[in-house]
């Protein structure tokens, strides 16, 4: 097609083009200038599985009820999970999550000039921290509040670039608040080095306080008040019938005072949880037990860290070139790790593996040797459904089926929707249903087969089958040493990660 320069079009067409370009430009500007006052923390990105796990833990009712307490000065903030960062500090993974801050809450350690209040706002940062103990997987959480000192150049090193115990050349304070808004501990830093330790003075109060001069005498110890500010906006709608436009008026006010005791000290600048843990795992269950992980992605992540599970899978991987299938079925110990596993094996050169269970189990794993399927078979799904319907699962919410194949693939299958899986299992109740299931998997368009199909094709088809058939099951793909299990979905012709956002399995 011949290209026509813009000015060669008739005038009405030029006008149309101009409008189109203008609209595109405005749309672009609108989308790129949209205000977001959340701190930007983007590198390094946390993988979806990790963020899903942390989010599921954090969104427990216990944590939410602490934040939403009526006297919590932080009750109006919420986590912005799309902006997160993690690091390993000592024996903990530290997740730093930006916050949604609709009331533009900030903290100031000095007198605030109302005319320049936005400058003060920019010198304060609030971030949610979640700590995961690498040994026990126990999690705790707090808010970190930074207030830059007058001498600190936030343009040179923005507060967003600083991280928990990675304060670079920061001068100012770093305070830690429990989720219910109570000050726990804090530090004053000068050029990145701790100069003072901060502790509560128990003189906090809520209310509309004056913007008074704050006391500060930190040698060797002294107290200092910090004002917590917020913006409140009121919108007045026009009177019906009289025209005019709605008008919004915003006012800033200090609404909470926190007094802390400064004492000269050195220290690591870290969070010291109050005795009692400051919000650990569900007290009714051992923190490491999978029952406390009601999200299949969290459970898969835990399996990736479970030495025994990885060992059993490795044992099986070493046998995939034998011409018989091997496997284990097992129960978990109190910590949620497989124990007292029973080894099983199939017949030489015969597909399949048979075992009989007389008690409840927590999962089974097996091999597909050379020439067999690169993914789960119909019988694998059928057996999972049979164990469920026969009441042979210790806990369907945490039950795991695993396969490692000679095609170099390894997968987990877990229930992600108990209601759907219950219905699906009922449809597979008869022994003859296995042939219907097998037929569906082998037939077009899925065509999951041992020969003539690549592992990728089988994987894509298997995921699509799980989705289309409303099985209530989720596939996880493992890496070669079983240290990572990624939930998968099929969408728009591609296999994508499938985080378990919001999934809380309940009976």
């Amino acid at each position: 097609m011949k290209k026509i320069p813009l000015n060669h079009y008739p005038s009405h067409q030029r006008f149309g083009k101009f409008c189109l370009l203008l609209t595109s430009l405005l749309l672009f500007l609108f989308s790129s200038c949209k205000k977001d006052t959340s701190p930007i923390i983007e590198e390094p990105a946390i993988n979806a599985v990790e963020i899903s796990k942390v989010k599921a833990w954090f969104n427990k009712g216990e944590n939410v009820s602490l934040i939403t307490k009526s006297n919590n000065w932080l009750k109006k903030v919420s986590a912005n999970w799309s902006k997160a960062y993690n690091s390993t500090v000592d024996s903990q993974t530290v997740y730093e999550v930006a916050i949604h801050n609709p009331n533009r809450i900030f903290v100031a350690t000095g007198t605030v000039e109302i005319k320049q209040i936005e400058k003060f706002e920019k010198r304060s940062l609030i971030r949610l921290l979640i700590f995961e103990d690498l040994a026990t997987n126990k999690m705790t959480s707090c808010f970190m509040v930074m207030v830059a000192g007058e001498s600190y150049d936030i343009k040179k090193t923005p507060l967003n670039d600083l991280h928990y115990r990675d304060y670079q050349n920061y001068t100012g304070t770093v305070d830690f608040y429990s989720l219910d808004g109570n000050f726990v501990n804090g530090w004053a830093l000068e050029q990145g080095k701790v100069t003072h330790r901060k502790s509560p003075s128990n003189k906090n109060s809520i209310g509309m306080l004056g913007n008074k001069k704050l006391s500060y005498a930190p040698i060797p110890c002294g107290t200092r008040q910090e004002l917590h500010w917020q913006q409140n906006c009121v919108t007045i709608d026009p009177i019906p019938g009289q025209g005019g436009e709605a008008s919004t008026t915003c006012t800033w006010s200090p609404y909470y005072t926190n007094e802390t005791l400064y004492c000269e000290s050195d220290g690591n600048g870290g969070y010291t949880p109050p005795s009692g843990g400051g919000g650990g795992s569900d007290p009714t269950e051992p923190p490491n037990h999978p029952d406390s992980l009601k999200n299949p992605c969290d459970q898969a992540t835990k399996l990736a860290q479970d030495a025994k599970f990885k060992q059993l899978m490795t044992n099986l991987k070493n046998k995939v070139t034998d011409n018989k299938e091997y496997g284990y079925f097992y129960k978990n110990n109190a910590a949620g790790s497989p124990e007292n596993e029973t080894a099983v094996e199939g017949l030489t050169a015969k597909e399949g593996i048979d075992f009989t269970v007389s008690t409840k189990i927590d999962g089974f794993m097996h091999t597909h040797y050379t020439g067999l399927l690169s993914i789960f078979s119909a019988a694998d799904i059928w057996s999972m459904a049979k164990l469920y319907k026969d009441g042979n699962m210790v806990n369907p919410k945490t039950f795991t089926v695993a396969v490692v194949t000679a095609s170099g693939t390894q997968y987990l299958l877990k229930i992600d929707d108990l209601s759907k899986f219950n219905t699906y299992s009922t449809s597979l109740a008869s022994s003859s249903s296995i042939r219907i299931l097998e037929q569906a998997l082998e037939s077009f368009p899925f065509a999951i087969k041992q020969t003539g199909r690549t592992p990728d094709q089988n994987e894509k088809a298997f995921i699509q089958f799980l989705q289309t058939s409303k099985t209530g099951l989720r596939l996880f793909k493992g890496n070669t040493n079983f240290t990572e299990w990624s939930p998968k979905k099929y969408e728009s012709g591609q296999i994508k990660n499938n985080p378990c956002d919001g999934i809380i399995l309940e009976e």
Partner: protein, 174 residues
């Protein structure tokens, strides 16, 4: 301008529709006809002395587990050993697919060629299902039958690789 807006709208709609459709996996409700199955319809039998196995196949169009409708063969079988009837589903020979009284489900859609039927069959005596492969000779009107256990994990199922009906036999169309 109006024309341009219409064109842009149509373009965006088309792009959205193109994104929604996946040629690899047609939407549920799609029908997969298979006229080639017609040639296998009928009764096939094997006799060895007083042992007899008969399989009657008929073509159906059924709704599968993934929401597709497709043509397939369902079958009923009748097995006599030493003149004694061991098991049979022939009494349900006029049943519909949805009654699930058939004891075979077969198709040639798995890419092994039109003359190879694969699927599953029920062992009524041992109360289990197994895999079956029928290599059909359309000239001689025979089919070689091979049965195996279903591949994969089999939990709490009867002794593997023991079947009620004979294995590795050839049936002839009647």
């Amino acid at each position: 301008m109006k024309k341009q807006l219409i064109i842009i709208t149509l373009f965006m709609l088309n792009a959205a529709l193109a994104k929604a459709q996946d040629p690899t996996f047609p939407p549920p409700g799609t029908n997969f006809p298979n006229p080639s199955l017609d040639q296998f319809v009928g009764t096939w039998s094997w006799t060895n002395g007083s042992d007899t196995l008969k399989i009657k196949l008929k073509k159906v169009n059924y709704l599968d587990m993934a929401g597709y409708t497709r043509d397939a063969l369902i079958g009923y079988h009748y097995y006599k050993k030493a003149g004694t009837l061991i098991e049979s589903s022939f009494t349900h020979i006029n049943s519909a697919y949805t009654e699930y009284k058939h004891t075979l489900l077969l198709s040639n859609t798995s890419g092994q060629g039109d003359s190879v039927l694969t699927g599953g069959m029920d062992d009524l005596t041992k109360n289990k299902s197994f895999s079956i492969r029928l290599d059909v000779n359309l000239v001689q009107h025979t089919m070689a039958m091979k049965i195996t256990e279903v591949s994969g994990v089999r939990v709490n199922t009867p002794t593997p690789y023991v079947f009620t009906i004979p294995n590795n036999i050839t049936l002839t169309k009647q």
